[in-house]
Subunit: 336 residues, 2 copies
Amino acid sequence: MSRNVTVADIAREAGVSMMTVSRVINHKGEVSAATRQRVQKVIDRLNYRPSGIARSLATNHSGTIGLMIPDVSNPFFAAVARGAEHVAGAEGYNIFLCNTEEDPQRELAVLHSLEEKRVDGVVVFSRLETRQLVGLLKQQPASVLINRQTSKNNNDHAIGTVRLDDVLGGQLVTRHLLDRGHRRIGFLAGPPTSHSGQARAKGYLQTMTAAGFPPDPLWVHNCAPTVEGGLASARDLLRLQPTLTALFCFNDLVAVGALQACVELGRAVPHDLAIAGYDDIPLAALVTPPLTTCRTPRYELGAQAVQLLLNRIRGCNEPCEEVVLQPELIIRASAP
Amino acid sequence: MSRNVTVADIAREAGVSMMTVSRVINHKGEVSAATRQRVQKVIDRLNYRPSGIARSLATNHSGTIGLMIPDVSNPFFAAVARGAEHVAGAEGYNIFLCNTEEDPQRELAVLHSLEEKRVDGVVVFSRLETRQLVGLLKQQPASVLINRQTSKNNNDHAIGTVRLDDVLGGQLVTRHLLDRGHRRIGFLAGPPTSHSGQARAKGYLQTMTAAGFPPDPLWVHNCAPTVEGGLASARDLLRLQPTLTALFCFNDLVAVGALQACVELGRAVPHDLAIAGYDDIPLAALVTPPLTTCRTPRYELGAQAVQLLLNRIRGCNEPCEEVVLQPELIIRASAP
DNA sequence: CTGTTAGCGCGTTCAT
DNA sequence: ATGAACGCGCTAACAG
């Protein structure tokens, strides 16, 4: 492969200075239409591509964004990534995709590598402890946290946040079940460490209590956020608490596991037990019976995160430091 | 944010030349243990991060790879992306994620932007016509095509390929159905433009014919590669060809649609009709009945693609220009 | 409207 | 084992 064409080549070939070529490329400053055309012609003829690397070095601005998530092959994060990429692409930015696999060590390594790549900012879904995370993000020129509440005292570092209103989601689902006459509602809460799970639990507890039916703590079990986790945990809970009439599950996968448990135990859904999931992943509508669930705007989560980040990068530090996205109740046959 | 720390700062602070600092960072050349430690101490104290940008400009080597796919939120490509990112990360490379949304214009724009970013290579899943695609990839320092056969006459441009053996997959599924006594096997072929669909059709036709049961062309219908597409197309096919005893579907989503059609038509699966899907997406094991399908090593597809690309980038142009990955038959209740 | 000068932060020569 | 000078390709800040 021959040496790359540079501004110098274009300038020489077109009989102008490098500066003029630069102006043509960047549509900046005034250039006479005549020279502009002449230069553009040479650029096209030589198939010239300006070096983003050199430009970045000169402008101190790379046109790249880092996206750190646990795992793209998780449908939730895949949608986030798609939203993020779409907005970034439309605004002329490229996205570095970084999976952490839930590993704190990888989180550190990723953030580190992103620093070296001199990204203009990062969008991050992290499991790190807040204190440490804030310290790391302070090293980045700009950052937005996904689905995680920043403590107010940290907003001096101007970390943006985009999150789902999981408390509301928990309320919506619980209220729906209450409205349909359920009083003994179990809760498969997901991993104890999940911020989302805690918020949904809060919505569940609040709503039950406000309605005058405070739930028995024994109706709440933690579980892995997977089909297997849901199956195992539902099996236990339904045996220990056979009088429950409804089950609110941490997410749709857990709900699918609960469905399987019901098959095992010979309990008809929704007749013997109503089941609600969370997220509305595509699978939710395809299982038997289709799941009542709470749709989370995942694509929007990524899209808005990048939008907020770009605002910050561009200096418009609007009042809007925290974006909260609303979930939507989706009623299907598993809890009609 | 204060000005970034540079080699110069470290050098001054440590009382050595920039060159020595550089040697310490890159573990190159001989540096006395004493000075190495002294320099390292300053680096740590100032929390110095070498600028990848400047380094790239100097070395003509960016440590980045472009990944162009239609859509990360498609589980197939999400798995590919994960495999790609994993290998890249392990080798110290970062990945630019680029979605094309099946839009040729976006493909051009993406490849263009990747050129400007001076990626060291690209991994590409493209819908572009071969001639044009090869022309574009020739501009990149290295490239690997996913799931697409390069015509032999183009291998002078050294475009690598990693693909699934879809013909074999078609054979495996068809043979399984034949083995279970099915003779009248329908085929929902997916979109007519799909390379994969054509290959699977080939496997199906070959196997049926070789077994002495050449299929009636009327048993083959095209369809959109979605649940809705499968539902509509299965509905039609099963009405027109009520004597079919088995259905081989383009992918698992289509197969789920076919399952729904069977519910509508009152045909029990697998008793009245056996159904096989393709891909083994997570959903496949969760529907009722669970789907017999053909597992495609999607993660491996991305992982091997990046591995091959890195080999090329590093100059080891091994004989292995084309990697073919084998699918695996997964037998479940929909076609036991 | 156009050109000149001077770096951006690093690695690669060559010296020492 | 260490250092000085130069260049990677481009743009910001000034001229003219």
